[in-house]
């Protein structure tokens, strides 16, 4: 029987009413399955989001999914520590068993539950920040942290790639109604490139509120079979495999040579990136001293006012991650001074804005870094010590721990 004959047969045997009822029942059934998937934790033994569970491979994690992970991992009474930020905090170059957030969990002990929700290329307000805010009532003892570069503008609904998480939570009514944040979001979303695709995005999330199609698709592609080819999927013969079967592909920086980690060919480009952390934020005065360039810092100060709602600021830790000394040592002395100033001033500004903030990396060694920004698991262990101390201090100040 040819395909054409099969279609003809189907057309003649399927009565119109049967088709219509089938369409309706199928649609409602899929919505119910999505609703069920939204309540289940797909990611048993969660360590971090891999490339297979990220927009890099067209997998769009829902806020329900993240909330379910936390509900599975966190025990009642624990202080929830959600880690957001970019690939540095996701632990690129650190194998899963040596991941810095595992060390952080060990450092902090059972009173805390550390969950790593960082994504490659994401910002302060992406993914993890949204999940933490959505869980604020269920887990009132919580600390959210993210890494950032100095003067990196924090857009309240997230970077373009990841803002779907904010709007997912927003349309499900999980976020605090904060007029100041809304005003900043409206400001950004009226401008290109933020305005591009924004209407489609919010429409999708509004529909998903009722139909749960994203949760359903994530359930299917993660647990049963993948439906979308991607650059990181496992080749033509394996791309249909469920994503849960894919390995965490992170290489171990410490198994790579220094020449591979610090490619000579990339040196110039990386130096541009290093200088970019401070070059636009300072000018020299008549005495040759670095002075903050007011328009940049004023804008930065204005934006951080509404990055998160006021009631969440005190539990938010902004971690300024410095570049590898391999590059810092190649800066001219005055450039090095400017670079250091940028980190010190950014920490100060965040604190003045009502947040907690620290920086790290000034006393780290070249070996602690896998490349310009990412840490080896040894560097990650150092970082976890610094962060653990800060988290304990914050927990004390926030009243999560009994007074000493």
């Amino acid at each position: 029987m040819t395909a054409a004959e099969i279609f003809r047969e189907l057309r003649s045997t399927l009565a119109p009413k049967t088709v219509l009822v089938g369409v309706l029942v199928g649609f409602v059934g899929l919505c119910l399955l999505g609703r069920r998937a939204a309540r289940e934790d797909l990611h048993k033994d969660f360590t971090r989001f891999t490339q297979w569970v990220s927009p890099e491979t067209k997998y769009y994690v829902t806020v329900n999914e993240m909330m379910s992970i936390v509900r599975t991992k966190a025990k009642p009474g624990q202080i929830l520590v959600i880690v957001g930020g970019n690939s540095v905090f996701r632990g690129v170059g650190q194998p899963p068993d040596q991941l810095w957030t595992k060390r952080l969990q060990e450092n902090l002990g059972d009173a805390y539950c550390v969950v790593n929700f960082a994504f490659n290329g994401s910002g302060i307000t992406d993914g993890g920040a949204v999940a933490a805010e959505a869980l604020r009532k269920e887990f009132p003892k919580q600390i959210y942290m993210a890494n950032a570069a100095p003067t990196q503008w924090p857009i309240p609904d997230g970077t373009i790639t990841y803002r779907f998480v904010y709007w997912d939570a927003y349309h499900k009514g999980l976020l605090i109604d904060d007029p100041a944040r809304t005003a900043t979001i409206n400001h950004f979303n009226a401008l290109p490139p933020y305005s591009g695709g924004f209407k489609e995005l919010t429409m999708r999330e509004q529909l998903d509120r009722w139909f749960y199609f994203q949760d359903y698709w994530n359930d299917v592609t993660f647990a049963q079979f993948n439906t979308v080819w991607g650059f990181y999927t496992l080749g033509p013969t394996k791309f249909l495999r469920a994503r849960k079967t894919y390995p965490d592909p992170e290489p171990d920086f410490l198994k790579m040579t220094m020449a591979t980690r610090y490619l000579e060919a990339n040196l110039e480009a990386e130096m541009v990136n290093v200088r970019g952390c401070s070059v636009y934020a300072y000018n020299k005065d008549a005495d040759g001293k670095w002075q903050p360039y007011a328009p940049i810092w004023d804008q930065f100060t204005e934006y951080i006012k509404s990055t998160v709602p006021a009631e969440l600021k005190k539990r938010t830790l902004i971690v300024l991650s410095r570049n590898s000394p391999y590059y810092i040592e190649r800066l001219a002395p005055d450039e090095r001074e400017r670079d250091n100033l940028a980190y010190v001033d950014a920490v100060k500004k965040w604190k003045e804005g009502g947040y907690e903030s620290i920086d790290y990396g000034r006393d780290f060694l070249i070996e602690d870094y896998g490349d310009r920004t990412h840490l080896t698991w040894q560097g990650g262990a150092k970082l976890s010590g610094i962060i653990a101390d800060k988290v304990r201090e914050m927990s004390q100040n926030l009243g999560y721990l009994p007074a000493k």
Binding site: A4, L10, R11, L14, A15, P16, K17, T18, V19, L20, V23, K199, E200, M203, R204, L207, T227, V228, W229, G230, F231, P236
Partner: protein
């Protein structure tokens, strides 16, 4: 693709049920016209709508006069509008520069202030339908007097973006019939067709697009080195992916359009009929993008004289029609080359039997070997896709690599 935007899904989810609920055709058609205007406005914007409105009014008015000259002027203006919006850069940069760079520069400069950033949405489809309308009226067909019918023929939302290219003599009666009698059978057939279209487009074609990007037969710097580095089997695999992708993408889109129209009770012309089952080039073009190939036949090839003035003229007419067919797909030389490639293929296919001695023997041999006819036809069409998607030198290099281990 417009059909898988959330805006469109919401739009269809409102428009189609309301259309069903209205029940009376005198209510359904104005409602549908308003919906089509909303659809066109949303995706084309005011700048994209304005030229189409102007051309539409002109076409409608010229048709009403039934005056042969007015219709000819209308056809000329439609074609000029298409050339202006879609081909001006190609004509200046690719053609006029070769003749006189100064003229090309002057034309580019004067067009710059008037041309929008991108051509109006689906301008080629509009122009082809307007030309068809005026040509038929000029030949004596009764024009559409009811402006509502003309508006719906012009901007019927299921076909607005990528066809099928409609013929008003079939479309309008079907539209009226649909508005009167859309029933359960239509709705079920529409849903079935839409489901098939979405599977072809979203599940198959979109994944094939990602797979082709993954293999990157042509890297952004224009090199085929990555293709050359593949094994011979992998190269043929990518070659097959390219051919399957365009079929699934375009025929999937047509299926959705035909299915959407059917939900409204309107039967649109078919655009694809298993083209990869064709056993000759003529048959391929009777099965591939049928609404375009029949338009080219009726409004370019036959008016040029078709096969009526001897073999040389017939071949020239075919080549010219197919060069235009290629150019219709986009303002670039590779499309012209692709069109000419098919024109030559058709000319050979239609005339080889007339070669004294060899021709009849070859014909007899091919008639006994339908599988060989199928393989050679498909290889010809699929090699054509290399010309369609890639610049000529790279397409030739890739074709050669398919035979070099």
């Amino acid at each position: 693709m417009i059909f898988n935007t959330y805006w469109f899904i919401l739009f269809a989810a409102v428009v189609v049920p309301v259309y069903w609920l209205l029940r009376k055709s005198f209510l359904r058609l104005p409602f549908l016209a308003v919906a089509c205007v909303v659809f066109h406005f949303h995706f084309a914007g005011p700048a994209g709508m304005a030229p189409i409105i102007a051309l539409g009014v002109l076409t409608y008015a010229a048709g009403l006069t039934r005056n042969r000259l007015a219709c000819a002027v209308g056809i000329a203006l439609s074609v000029l509008a298409l050339v202006f919006y879609k081909y001006i850069h190609f004509l200046t940069g690719g053609v006029l520069t070769l003749i006189n760079p100064g003229w090309a520069d002057a034309v580019e400069k004067s067009a710059k202030g008037i041309l929008p950033g991108a051509p109006p949405l689906a301008v080629s489809f509009f122009v082809f339908e307007f030309v068809h309308y005026l040509y038929e009226v000029r030949k004596g067909a009764a024009p559409l007097k009811n402006p509502l019918q003309f508006v719906l023929f012009s901007i019927f939302f299921p076909t607005l973006v990528a066809g099928p290219i409609k013929r008003f003599q079939q479309f309008v009666p079907s539209l009226e019939e649909g508005a009167r009698n859309v029933g359960m059978e239509d709705v079920a057939a529409g849903f079935r067709r839409i489901a098939i279209g979405f599977i072809k487009k979203v599940v198959i074609a979109d994944n094939l697009t990602l797979a082709i990007a993954y293999y990157a037969p042509l890297t952004p710097d224009g090199s085929v080195a990555q293709f050359a580095a593949m094994t011979l089997t992998a190269r043929w695999f990518v070659f097959i992916l390219i051919a399957m992708r365009i079929l699934m993408d375009f025929s999937g889109y047509s299926d959705i359009a035909i299915g959407l129209a059917r939900l409204l009770g309107v039967k649109l012309p078919e655009n694809f009929n298993w083209p990869y089952a064709a056993k000759s080039i003529q048959e391929f073009w009777q099965r591939w993008h049928i609404s375009l190939s029949s338009w080219i036949r009726d409004y370019v090839y036959i008016p040029l004289g078709g096969s009526r003035h001897g073999l040389a003229r017939k071949i020239f007419n075919g080549l010219f029609a197919f060069a235009l067919c290629g150019l219709w797909h986009g303002p670039a030389w590779n499309f012209v080359v692709w069109g000419l490639y098919h024109g030559v293929g058709l000319a050979v296919c239609a005339n080889y039997a007339a070669i004294p001695g060899l021709g009849p023997r070859l014909q007899g041999w091919l008639e006994k070997s339908p599988k060989l006819c199928w393989v050679s036809t498909q290889l010809f069409a699929w090699f054509g896709w290399l010309l369609f998607f890639y610049p000529l030198p790279q397409a030739i290099a890739m074709a050669r690599l398919l035979f070099n281990a």
